[in-house]
Symmetry: C2
Subunit: 467 residues, 2 copies
């Protein structure tokens, strides 16, 4: 983690040889046991060959690739698309694992706001942000939609760090101008919110400079944090720049009541965003645990996206989101760690909890509510890509897409007493491919994420692993 | 894992120096920042000093300890009691992480019985059992209540392996003599069940030879697996030998219906065991998800124990056990991984899921159903000790108890680019002790279990860790 100076890894043509797995559809994995994926100098997938093991044959079919670097899967591993974290608070990474006995609103005041405010100290911000980016990369997260803090300089720093470490990221300065936020942690005025938001949008666009790694994202924290007029202006900034927006919705019963009290003239929580012009196809709504029928309908109509954060929803006792119902309505969904409401920076952990929480939902809603392993993996990759509007670029392996990928390393169990391997997953050899993927999904962790690439650049490599 | 020939670690007097944490009560942790625990040649705790940092002072108070070995906690770690897994199927370890799309009864026939039957091959049994014991030790499990298979030789082998590796274990040959079990995986007759059970009881007692590491446990798989008359005879064997028994109860709706159909003359599921004489204070009932009021009352009356297995109950869509209600009734409870109904061999993972599942329960039962971190850690240690009848020996640090402990290693986050540490937990230095324990509980894994002792013997050591 962090050992690799990214700039050292110049891009060249590379052939990734061995098994690869990605999601064909919500229900179906595409498992190719013997694949060859050619990635060009721009980090784009130039070809995919199936049943290919013979390099000479590949070279015959693809002239100009004979000098390409070859990266082979060892043992029982496979290439898998990088994970997409559609909801994560970078400053809260320092609190990851501190789980409140209380619920959302208390937790914000006790743990979260003080931590966020403290990152106005740029040295502390660098420490937390660098760690957060390195850790999420080490867990295979190639794209993240970040909430930073209200501080402009620290938010810009997060963009710099993502560029430096090579993680694809949406960088959001958090907007909070209402009196409900603590005096010591809010914008001075609506005008201040707008000015600072524009500053960050400009900075992040300039910093990226067309590389397509970082992009700004408009981030009103949640309805109670902002004046409605401010949200309207933020929607304008979003529209002018053609960029994404993100916020929270319907996470917790107390929060929903608060929104009702604060916005008595609106039809419902979703309506507050809708009337501001924020409920659009480029909006990511985190949580969506307790939506009403009317809200589900308008979210679908506006094609707004939902980030499902089950680890957070269980840890903060928020509830169990009705994922199957939302999917059946055709609403686009991805997964979010929601660090540190969620304790884990790992999307693989979120995949597991997505499955488990759906089973708890099924006790109420019946068998159909259960999500299969394949479905949770889809949400973590292709689903997340759609949520952040990158479905033509990341989340799967298709010709023309970017090589945003992780090498999942799985090794056979050593004999008792033999040299121990760096993996929590035990593969015996009798497992089917489905079993192997199951064992990784349920017992795997960052030790199995041997290497991670974004746009063809190597951005993480386990120190015990040689490419 | 498995690198250490246990016999090499002769016992000598040892002083464990540094922070230690254990459970004072269900609600309260006892955190001693500067402790010294003296463990004698028999592996028993001879003294506990608090606020002790000066070895000379300790030597003055405890003559005869000047030559003792000293094991110091480094960095921000602490000693914690070893975990007690009150329900685990050792043969199913080979399937850990293969989570069925289906529920209990299907899963038994598709995954579980074939795997168990295949362990009549002793070479395969050794491979799986050795791995299971080494892995659970590496996760800090110092005591386990094991179900083996119906095979006598393989079950005896499990006892040998536990002795060899130094894990405290209850070894149960699984009893299945009813027609409901597959023809290719059941005892030949009731007489066969009884004979084989006696054989294993005798073997395990002899193998232990008074060392107090392994003990037999009577193991009728669950009511549908055994004729009632067989269960009655098993209860006799239990009584004669004064040993524990274990079985399953009320895990899944389909299973409960099956029991109702099979035993129409009994009041309820618990009554089937009660009438057989098995519902007693030395019985461990796994799951107990859907108990009726009458069953809860009789379980409390008989002082039978319950093993809570939330990972399994969620993964197999069995339900969410009403832990708070059971605890409030004064029923003794511990935690179980239920590998491989539960996908993880880690009790720390079960601790997390105990908390999360209790929060899902609270959506129905109200706030009081929520279990705190301290409570789940209690169930994993002192609670489990009571379940297996060892509360005077393990599960906490008290003078006269055995040193069954784990060294939890927590290190400060290295600066960006500095040498990476072998831990998934990030400690910055500003955390309170409660925060630190929280970070370990929620994000920790076997990388933080630096060393493990049973009865004072070092039975596991992370290879990257020096004592």
């Amino acid at each position: 983690m962090g050992e690799l100076p990214i700039s050292a890894h110049l891009l060249g043509k590379t052939i990734y040889l061995g098994a690869f797995v990605h999601c064909k559809s919500l229900q179906e994995l595409d498992i190719c046991e013997k694949g060859a994926i050619g990635v060009d100098e721009r980090g784009k997938i130039a070809f995919i060959e199936r049943g290919a093991e013979d390099l000479d044959l590949i070279f015959k079919q693809h002239h100009g690739w004979t000098a390409a670097k070859v990266v082979r899967v060892k043992d029982k591993g496979f290439f898998f698309p990088g994970f997409i974290d559609t909801h994560i608070h970078a400053p809260q990474y320092g609190n990851a694992g501190i789980v409140s006995k209380s619920t959302l609103l208390d937790w914000l005041n006790t743990y979260t706001f003080p931590m966020e405010a403290s990152l106005a100290d740029l040295e502390k911000a660098r420490r937390i942000y660098a760690r957060c980016v390195a850790r999420t990369l080490s867990h295979g997260t190639t794209t993240a939609a970040y909430y930073a803090t209200i501080d402009v300089a620290a938010t810009n720093l997060l963009a710099d760090i993502c560029l430096e470490k090579g993680q694809r990221a949406f960088i959001g300065r958090v907007c909070m101008d209402s009196d409900l936020s603590p005096k010591w942690y809010r914008d001075e005025s609506s005008a201040d919110t707008i000015r600072k938001s524009k500053e960050v949008v400009e900075y992040v666009k300039r910093a990226d400079g067309g590389k397509g790694i970082v992009a700004p994202i408009i981030t009103p924290r949640f309805a109670p944090s902002c004046h409605h007029s401010t949200m309207c202006e933020l929607a304008e900034i979003q529209k002018e720049n053609g960029i994404l927006a993100q916020t929270h919705i319907s996470e917790n019963i107390g929060e929903i009541q608060l929104v009702k009290d604060l916005f008595p003239d609106f039809k419902h929580y979703a309506d507050v965003y809708d009337k501001a012009g924020l409920l659009n196809s480029k909006m990511i709504l985190a949580h969506a645990v307790h939506l009403t029928e009317a809200e589900k309908v308008v979210i679908k109509q506006r094609d707004a996206k939902i980030s499902h954060c089950p680890v957070s929803n269980s840890a903060l006792t928020s509830g169990a989101a009705p994922v199957r119902d939302l999917l059946d309505r055709g609403i686009t969904m991805g997964l979010g760690t929601d660090v540190s409401g969620g304790y884990s920076p790992s999307i693989l952990e979120v995949v597991r909890q997505t499955i488990l929480v759906s089973r708890h939902r099924s006790f109420e809603d019946g068998e159909a509510a259960k999500l299969a392993t394949e479905e949770a993996l889809y949400l973590a990759t292709r689903g997340g890509a759609k949520v952040v509007g990158l479905e033509d670029h990341v989340g799967a392996f298709e010709v023309g897409m970017d090589w945003d990928a992780q090498l999942v390393s799985l090794a056979a169990v050593p004999a008792d007493g033999e040299k121990e391997l760096d993996t929590p997953v035990d593969i015996y050899g009798w497992e089917s491919w489905e079993d192997r993927i199951g064992k990784w999904t349920y017992n795997g962790d960052d030790r199995n994420t041997a290497a991670v690439w974004v746009k063809g650049r190597l951005v993480h490599q386990r120190k015990s692993f040689e490419l």
